[in-house]
């Protein structure tokens, strides 16, 4: 094996390492930006249980299976579960967070368009998992 040049290998290794660093840095940065919760975000306590979602607003009002929010206001979801692991998902807003018994997971989002959007459970949680759905109503905040 002696005598041949190894610089192509080193260039290859360098390029691979640079790409991995770049991919890692990009992903880390986007995660950091996305997870930064605005200070004025309104808290909504989300509770999953077989097989429906309960939402509790800051003023204490509760909703079951549907959630009404105002356009242009950031909301912070504090997500928990009463029984098994669920996953709180609003596909149109790329909100996805596990609901785990004994623990509160946090995710925030900003509704920007009025309308109705599906909410669903994204972690198989038993017989009626497929029907553990809700509706997000984004209303005009003005």
């Amino acid at each position: 094996m002696g005598g041949h040049s190894s610089w192509p290998e080193w260039i290859y290794i360098g390029v691979v390492v640079a790409l991995l660093v770049w991919v890692g840095a990009e992903a880390w940065n986007v995660e950091r930006l996305v997870e930064h919760i605005p200070a004025e975000a309104k808290t909504i306590i989300v509770t999953g249980q077989q097989w429906f979602w309960t939402f509790e607003h800051e003023d204490g009002t509760k909703e079951i299976g549907e959630l009404h929010v105002k356009k242009g206001i950031p909301y912070k979801f504090e997500i928990g579960s009463k029984d098994v692991i669920h996953s709180f998902n609003i596909p149109d807003y790329l909100v996805l967070m596990d609901a785990v018994p004994g623990r509160i997971n946090v995710v925030w989002f900003l509704p920007v368009e009025e309308g109705e959007y599906p909410i669903q459970c994204r972690e198989y949680c038993g017989l009626l998992h497929y029907n553990m759905r809700g509706t997000l109503y984004v209303e005009d905040g003005a």
Binding site: G14, E26, L33, L94, F109, L110
Partner: protein
């Protein structure tokens, strides 16, 4: 190349760290990340598979410029 891949993005992050947009749209950030990663994935895929295809084509036994390795030539390993 190294500066494009590593140094410039790092500099961007340092400045971006000052103002993590309070009202950024997570959909935009996440989909943009996805598209950037897909661009990298397809470029890497093309380069790697292209290299392999060229390597196999160039170093096949029937290639006009093919020559035996020194081991094969001498019949000793």
């Amino acid at each position: 190349m190294l500066s494009i891949l590593v140094i410039l993005p790092s500099v961007q992050y340092v400045f971006a760290a000052e103002e993590p947009g309070e009202y950024l749209d997570r959909r935009v950030e996440i989909w943009n990340l996805f598209f950037r990663m897909m661009t990298v994935a397809f470029v890497v895929g093309a380069v790697v598979s292209g290299t392999l295809i060229w390597l196999i084509w160039r170093f096949r036994e029937s290639h006009p410029k093919a020559k035996p390795t020194s081991y094969e030539e001498k019949g000793v390993w």
